[in-house]
């Protein structure tokens, strides 16, 4: 299996489209940091000010309420809708791409089970997703510290003030990114499943984004019917990474989110196996 994963990694990471996600983040993030730096000539960003506004009546606020960690938090908050597209771009290509290219006609005639091939492809998809999110995290925190320094982190919250020490902040970001990776694995699994149904990768990419956006709309629209559906949508749990910055950390809620998303990951993968094992390679 390790060898199969290795060759799937070669097939995936040698493709130019795999680099799109990293390139997009690599270009966008510095621009965002520069933009924030320019905005801060007039004072800390509004999001940070709002958090301490209620305290300023009775307290002097000493120290920087917006630093590299704040910038990284802001980036994470802004990009989590766009990152699924970059993930679907590769995950949706895993099966459909090979169908379109016709390469299944030389790979699947080998003495290797389709289950093994699919498992290797799925793991590669998860590896790509993990690397992309880690790249986002390291770059945003790294650039953030470079542009804005480090120190205690004032968590932007509307009704409470939470300051984390630098040591605590690193741990919280670590937890947040682990949860973000888990959430994005769900998106990747959905795109992977849709890839088994299509003969070219455009369909799974569009399909994934359509489903994500539709679910988000349902989650955010305060209709009674939608409120009943909401607990069953995976998009309800994808922003669980925010809970890493609550105090105390709501471990029960996080465990529930992780469990629900895990069910979706497993479910999408199982469906992918079923579909692909029964699929006739006719291309």
């Amino acid at each position: 299996m390790l060898k199969l994963i290795h060759i799937e990694n070669i097939k995936t990471f040698y493709k130019w489209r795999t680099g799109i996600g990293f390139l997009a983040i690599g270009v966008l993030l510095p621009l965002m940091m520069i933009g924030m730096k320019l905005d801060m000539r007039h004072g800390p960003p509004a999001v940070a000010e709002r958090t301490v506004r209620s305290l300023r009546e009775n307290f002097f606020v000493i120290g920087s309420i917006f630093n590299g960690f704040s910038a990284a938090y802001f980036v994470m908050h802004s990009l989590w809708v766009h990152i699924p597209f970059l993930i679907a771009l590769v995950a949706g290509d895993q099966i459909a791409g090979e169908s379109a290219a016709g390469t299944f006609r030389i790979s699947l005639i080998r003495p290797v089970s389709r289950t093994q091939v699919m498992t290797a492809k799925f793991i590669t998809t998860l590896i790509y997703t993990t690397l992309l999110i880690l790249f986002l995290g390291l770059l945003s925190i790294g650039l953030g510290i470079l542009f804005f320094g480090r120190g205690d982190f004032l968590v932007p919250r509307p009704r409470a003030v939470l300051v984390l020490t630098e040591g605590q902040t690193w741990l919280r970001f670590g937890l947040a990114y682990i949860l973000a990776i888990w959430a994005m694995w769900t998106i990747a699994s959905l795109a992977f499943f849709l890839s088994t149904l299509a003969e070219n990768s455009l369909g799974p990419v569009i399909g994934t984004m359509a489903i994500v956006i539709a679910c988000l709309i349902i989650s955010r629209t305060p209709l009674q019917l939608f409120k009943k559906i909401k607990p069953f949508l995976f998009t309800t749990y994808v922003d669980g990474w925010l809970k890493a910055f609550q105090e105390p950390i709501p471990w029960n809620e996080i465990s529930s989110s992780v469990l629900y998303l895990g069910m979706y990951i497993f479910g999408f993968f199982a469906l992918s196996l079923i579909v692909f094992n029964r699929k006739d390679i006719l291309s």
Binding site: I10, I106, L108, P111, S113
Partner: protein, 300 residues
């Protein structure tokens, strides 16, 4: 028996594209699988290689049922299905490394050997997207030979090649069979191609098996045959032959004649022309599948 099918059938929707196919391929055979376009050849080959699930029936390869033991069944099989498609953004060598891993692991030396065998060693590190069609076809054969298979299944291996390329592929097939004892199952829609390389054949039409057996025996049943005759002077040969009642039909082309006559009178025609002081340079049978269909089905 190396490869056998029992009542093999495939349905897409309501359409049965392969019906009740019973094939037997023995060790050392070069087995030709013939049929016109859309006869069910490709679907059959895809089922033999595990790309398509049969609706009914069984496939056995080296004694292992394909549905239950696909790994064991395919472990000694190599194949090409239609035009071989590779990972274009990777080199030829990298493609073969990937396919070798899928085959259970191949020595690096073996990759060099097969590239050498098909004449692509010099381009081993070039990306496949730079390859011509003929080079890709040869690379396809290389990947089929990668795991030292005992059975090779080829689907229209000369498709898209120029005459020189076709000749090379046919020679390779014959060499593999004679020198290495590899059993070969190849499909084609060209009777003369199968006739040149195969010892046994089966013909499929509209999903149904028409005939199966030894090539020579099957083709001997044809009563009449069209031959391409090259002779000098051509016009005189034409005039002489068209007066003979044992010639069914004759057509004059630019540099040859197409003569239709009973199979057993070819030597008589040769002797007749020589006696008439006509210099005969070539007599080649021109057999088409359609002609064969007509002869075995008796359709005019």
């Amino acid at each position: 028996m190396v490869l056998g099918t029992q009542s093999l059938s495939k349905r897409f929707g309501k359409n049965w594209v392969v019906k009740d196919l019973n094939l037997k391929v023995y060790k050392g055979d070069v087995f030709g699988f013939l049929g016109p376009n859309a006869a069910g050849k490709s679907t059959t080959i895809r089922m033999l290689l595990g790309l398509v699930r049969p609706t009914l029936g069984k496939i056995e390869i080296f004694g292992y049922p394909l549905s239950k033991s696909p790994k064991k069944a395919l472990s000694r099989v190599g194949g090409i299905v239609e035009r071989p498609d590779f990972y274009l953004y990777l080199s030829a060598k990298k493609n073969l490394e990937i396919l070798g891993t899928l085959s259970g692991g191949i020595r690096k030396e073996r990759i060099d050997e097969v590239l050498e065998l098909v004449g692509l060693y010099e381009w081993a590190n070039d990306k496949v997207k730079t390859f011509s069609h003929g080079m890709k076809q040869r690379l396809g054969i290389a990947q089929a030979l990668l795991s030292n298979p005992e059975l090779i299944i080829l689907d229209e291996p000369t498709s898209g090649l120029d005459p020189q390329g076709m000749k090379e592929v046919r020679e390779l097939i014959v060499r593999l069979s004679r020198e290495r004892g590899i059993t070969i199952f190849l499909s084609s829609h060209l009777l003369y191609e199968i006739e040149q390389v195969a010892n046994r054949m089966a013909i499929i039409n509209k999903g149904n098996l028409m005939v199966q057996g030894n090539v020579k025996s099957l083709l001997r049943d044809i009563k009449e045959i069209v031959v391409i005759l090259k002779a000098t002077p051509l016009k005189i040969a034409f005039d002489l032959l068209r007066k003979q009642d044992w010639v069914s039909s004759i057509v004059i082309n630019k540099d040859s004649l197409e003569v239709k006559l009973p199979y057993n009178l070819i030597s008589k025609m040769n002797a007749f022309l020589v006696e008439s002081h006509i210099e005969v340079s070539a007599i080649m049978p021109k057999r088409t599948l359609e002609d064969y269909f007509l002869s075995i089905t008796g359709n005019a």
